[in-house]
Amino acid sequence: MLKASEQDVQKVFTRRALVLAGGKLALIGALGARLYYLQVVEADRYELLSRGNQFNLELLPPVRGRILDRNGVALADNQDNFRVEIVREQTDDVAATLSALRSIIEVPDWDVRRVLKDVKRKRAFVPVTVVENLTREEIARVAVNAPYLPGIRIEVGRSRRYPFADTAVHITGYVAAVSESELTGDPVLELPDFRIGKSGIEKLHDLGMRGTAGRRQVEVNALGRIIRKLPGEDGEPGRDVKLTLDINLQRYATERLSRGNAERLPTEDPRAQLALAQAEPAMRDLYADRQTVLVDAEGKVIEAESGSAVVMDVHTGELRALASAPGYDPNPFNRGLSAKDWEELLTNPRGPLNNKAVSGQYPPGSTFKMLVMLAALESGLAGPDTKFFCPGHLTLGDTRFHCWSRYGHGWLDMKQSIAQSCDVYYYELAKRIGIDRISSIAKRFGLGELTGVDIPGERRGLVPSREWKLATTGVPWQMGETLVAAIGQGFNLATPLQLALMTARLVNGGKAVVPHIEFPNGPPEAAEDMAVDTRHLEAVRVAMSEVVNGPRGTARKIQGSPDDVKIGGKTGTAQVRRITMADRASGAYKEEKPWRFRDHALFVGFGPVEAPRYAVAVVVEHGGGGSSMAAPIGADVLREALRIDPPGPTASGESGAPTPERQDG
């Protein structure tokens, strides 16, 4: 019985053991199936995920292309930026290492606090920057003491440098950190120290100057620590951009423009001290940290002039100088400008952020008169001998149009009208030829339209016409407006660049050169001929020479000595505020006005007179009179341009096709 029951038990056991074995086998089968699914069916997907885990793509930022002037001088380059970093896991005591570092180089208190905070927040192997922009000497000191500075390491980055600071800033522009809206999905833009061009050439040629980033795979572990660096593809450095600009001339033009008619004295000079002592507190603040002071002829401290000076090769349109004052230092933008500094730049009434050469629009004033003269000659309605009598004003209907000379110029021919800048003469001419001819010639010579210069931010200025006025204001054109337009006032607006271009086209034999600042790769294309009678152009050139070299020329003060290069030009004074009859009666318009109501001073010129090579345009904002303020600046800049790069066979290689009337001079 016992045996039978035991056999029962054994039978049940055996049967059930087989069932259990079957169950286990089934479960192990499930494991096998899962293994197959993961390692065979889904293998590719997991392989990819595993690689994604294992490797991170590391981008090596490309070296940004430089900006060079025509002689290869760097206006923007890349500077080694030495920085000291600390790695927490390589030192026992971060604070001790930092205090050791501070006995070697200067580390500000707040940097120490920041580092101590950052070190705790970041992972132990992530380096934290302690100080940046160290000198080579400081780096050498740190390197020598490295054994006593556990966890400290020296890294080299690159940062953009503008050696000439504010001198060419409106051309080069600046680079700054990439903003949210500028992200395009290109991973290189997300690198922490990547910078992109925000204005000027930096912006215009940004893509080419960026280059392409190198790519390298790095093997990382689960914490992100780099285990191994694998070879990758090298990046390509960005393209250098060479400009036609001559930085020496640019620097000269900027300084000459800023100085105006004042004298720049060292701050410690007794005259400067005296002037400062008498100056208003606001003016003293302005010069608080400066080493030099501008003192005018009366011994008063003045603020630097603002405005623009443009030097253009009349045959090729190459821009040799394009000064805009005041400027600003683009270097701080690299690191990031404080909100306060940015606000100051934005609200500064002198507009340092503006590139006044291409975006400043001013009434051309009397510099416009050559166009009226040319329009008259081209129309055949007047000739060089056409004479008008200037009694000091012209009456049209019941409005009296004044000449700048209250007492009038008497009888004048065309050449004299330019030399003495008689307004009445041009009222008469304009009356005779009408606004249409004037607008047409002005446009052909580059006003009222974009010149197409390769600098961002250009504005088109304005040349009024009947159609324009009707379309804009709905009121038909008035004859009086023709008269005002003929002396470059009224609706007329031009940029300094346009004025330089106009001058170039007037004196280069009527070739429609196009201004440009990028250095051409090949020989320049021949500029289109504007089909203007060369005799008429010759008359204009002679008249402009008379302005400077004639006995009664408005700019005769800039004639210089007989040894100086002979130049021609035209002054202009553009009213900012209309002179009312009341002003005229009281004589108040001659008194000192607040800066922002003073007239703009203009000068356009060229030289040498016999074989023009450079055109210059100077606008001094609220500078007073063209002949007193702008003409001396223009003459100096022009003569400096001719001195630096004198016309002649040696220098003609890059300056384009010589024109027939060009001579060595």
Binding site: K3, S5, E6, D8, V9, Q10, V12, F13, T14, R16, A17, V19, L20, A21, K24, L27, I28, A30, L31, G32, R34, L35, Y36, L38, Q39, V40, E42, A43, R45, Y46, E47, L49, S50, R51, N53, Q54, E219, V220, N221, A222, L223, I227
Partner: protein, 385 residues
């Protein structure tokens, strides 16, 4: 004297130590050594090609475990049936003691340090429970097993330690105890409908049990159900383990070349996730081979059980086999993302002495059953005559 002298209803004569040594199933021992050898290699790899800190100690522990296993194999099986209840009681007391100590001491230390090993009462209990249940069912007739009253005592024997372990909380061990005991109940002849009824009751109890689970246990189950929901949090382990497994492919990335493991994407690669590392480095081929080795051990377990003459021997053999199976299945299924992460190691491969020691003692018992397969044991645990 002769082994061949055998007949039904008669016990064979006592074997000498030498005869017992000969009777030991050395092939099974070789399998176990092979598995432990694989373990050493994987631990060597886990340390980036270094015998320290894991592989060396693993080998040392295995040596001790092997000695224990062979010693246990030589001990007469009747000794184990006599001491089964005593051992169970001792294990239960230990379990209760560390539970109380765990409550008192701030750190939840659930083990007693024995130098090279940590004695974990819950692990000891796994073996003692098998022995105690085997003793209880040994000699019960099929009819007696059918009487529900006779199931009260063994159910309590399971429930008490399971509750204590759950309270620790160690869900994995508790589940293993319950599942292992369930297998013994099943083999002993408990009627199938009772299992079905219990399963039905269990399913009904899920919402109630859910309330008692710790938050992290709930989270583990939820994460298991949808690991991608939280790839950086709780699901990270499962996801990384699956990536490691999957990227291993058929032939693996090669010894010491598992990127997931060596770059620390894989968590706990020297303990619970060591199978993943093996599968990453040796691919499906290697993983299948290892599972194959375990299956061979399991097959030996079944063969030994079926050939044993005593119900005690049979139940111990399959109890131990089932424990090994549960370790294997839970661990491998866990790292493959088939079941939630419950923290069960892979015996003889994973670093950590406890599971290995448990399994070596169990396998020692299994070998013992094999050596003493012809010994008949009466209900009371005494020799039958």
């Amino acid at each position: 004297m002769a082994i061949s002298f055998r007949s039904d209803g008669l016990n064979p004569p006592e074997l000498s130590i030498g005869q017992k040594l000969v009777a030991i199933n050395w092939l099974l021992v070789l399998l176990v050594v092979t598995i432990a050898g694989v373990g050493c290699l994987m631990l060597y790899s886990a340390a980036n090609g270094d015998w320290t800190p894991w592989a060396y100690r693993h080998a040392l522990r295995f040596g001790i475990g092997l000695t224990a296993m062979l010693t246990i194999a030589l001990i007469d099986i009747r000794f184990w049936i006599r001491t089964a209840y005593l051992g169970y009681l001792a294990a239960l007391l230990l379990l209760g003691a560390v539970e109380i100590m765990g409550e008192i001491g701030m750190g939840a230390q659930r083990w007693i340090d024995l130098g090279l090993f940590q004695l974990q009462p819950s692990e000891v209990m796994k073996i003692c429970l098998v022995l105690a249940l085997a003793r209880y069912f040994n000699g019960l007739t099929y009819e007696e097993v059918g009487n529900p009253l006779n199931l009260i005592i063994p159910l309590l024997m399971v429930a008490l330690p399971a509750m204590l372990v759950l309270k620790q909380p160690d869900l994995g061990t508790a589940l293993m105890m319950i599942a292992g005991s369930g297998a013994i109940f099943f083999l002993a002849g408990v009627r199938i409908w009772k299992f079905l009824a219990l399963i039905a009751a269990g399913v009904a109890a899920v919402p109630i049990v859910w309330q008692f689970l710790r938050e992290y246990q709930q989270k583990r189950i939820l994460t298991f159900l949808n690991p991608e929901s939280d790839p950086l949090g709780s699901g990270y382990h499962i996801l990384q383990s699956k990536i490691a497994l999957g990227s291993g492919g058929i032939f693996g990335k090669g010894f010491l070349k598992g990127s997931q493991s060596h770059l620390n994407f894989l968590p706990e690669k020297q303990t619970d996730f060591i199978f993943t590392m093996l599968a990453e480095e040796f691919g499906m081929v290697g993983a299948s081979c290892l599972i194959g080795l375990y299956v061979l051990v399991l097959a030996y377990g079944f063969a030994i059980a079926i050939r044993a003459r005593s119900q005690f021997g049979r139940l111990v053999a399959l109890g131990v086999t089932t424990t090994l199976f549960l370790y294997l299945f839970i661990n491998v299924a866990m790292v493959m993302g088939l079941i939630p992460v419950v923290g069960v190691p892979l015996p003889m491969i994973s670093y950590g002495g406890t599971a290995m020691l448990t399994m070596m003692i169990g396998l020692g018992l299994l070998l013992g059953v094999s050596v003493h397969r012809d010994v008949r044991i009466a209900r009371a645990g005494v020799e039958e005559d």
